[in-house]
Amino acid sequence: QRLRIAAAANAQFVSQELVKEFKQLTGIEPELIIGSSGKFTAQIEQGAPFDIFMSADMKYPQELYEKQLTIGKPEVYAYGTLVLWSNTTIKLPVNNLIKADIRKIAVANPKLAPYGEATIQTLQKLKLYTQLQPKIVYGESIAQVNQYLLTGAVDVAFTAKSVVLDPAQKDKGSYTEIDSKLYKPIAQAVVILKSSTGGNLQQVKKFYKFLFSAQAKAIFKAYGYK
């Protein structure tokens, strides 16, 4: 059975890169499953067969740890950055969202996705939330938010910096980084799951270690993580 990694949607492109690198190093090719951190947590509590959970925050892994579903405590593997992505080539300050030509804003479901939570915090800090609420549409995760932007369904989307820095998305639209003081730091933690205690715990631990290696750090950095 292959090593299965449940990765939060913000990390979907970076983890693809990580997996590629890991395979080159070890010959092991893990399977990647992308979703929102909240949804993964719910699934893991129901016994989903994942080995490693790369969350978008600390809260969800901590919850799993407290329910004794993990091997060891959650550890932060990267700090994420929130960006405002737009369809046009013109960079857009957040304040401009109130303008009439911005009709729809995509935000990840704050109940399930930490990046969504961070977005709401930002908008509330800027006292824009109530005003913008009628324009907001919710995606299941950062991934659906990205999809809404790229299909043209929305005009702007709050997403992760790692998404817009992915080589495939680089020349699609433009982005503005959100001032990191406006939201609680997105400390992204990883845990090894107990459901993995099959034969490949060795491999699991190998990948876990790899996440904290110098090669991995470089990749995270390239994707805008801190």
């Binding site: 909240g38 729809k104 479901n109 399930l112 549409v137 919710y138 299909t151 043209g152 369904a153 929305v154």
Partner: protein, 224 residues
Amino acid sequence: MMYQPLWLTFKLALATTLCLLLLGIPIAAVLAKSRSKLKPFLEAIISLPLVLPPSVLGFYLLLAFSPQNGFGKMLDVAFNIRLLFSFSGLVISSIIYSLPFMVHPVQAGLEALPASLREASQTLGKSSWQTFIKVLLPNIKPALLTGIILTFAHTLGEFGLVLMIGGNIPGVTKVASIAIYDEVESLNFSTAHIYAAILMVVSFVILLTVYLTNKRLNKSRIAT
């Protein structure tokens, strides 16, 4: 607040059913009358939503409705209408999704009427329109009822499509089936229980009505 998704679902089912009455009956009438070689093709197209994954339909609707592309752009530019993330968009996709549930029973009902009723009306000098309204429609009431009830119930159950093109906006597109999904994924099982139980009971009562009515009328069947 808690009942908003339920109320929205009900509104969506009602709007879809009304629109499909206006749209589905003529389609059923044309199919019932047709002896064309193209009829099986038309029937297959109309039944497609019965077997197509909602994610396929949803993907195509997302592209079609997007204000960046052809149809969506035209609507946006010409009428300032955006169907994505709007209630009207959900109504339109529900109409496509539930089309077979209205067309099939009505078509079957019309096909089961003896041809002599239509012909008698013709020989009495009445137009096709008069014949349809005064003679044919009033005599397929059980089939119409089945169509209405099934369309309504099936729209209550719409999920995948709304997930893809709804945007989960409270009061606008967050229908009950999506609310359940949301609550389950957020591990609020108790809220999910309430929604699920209500939808379950409503669906069951609706179906039971159809079957009890059909048993009494000893006519048209639910599916196939």
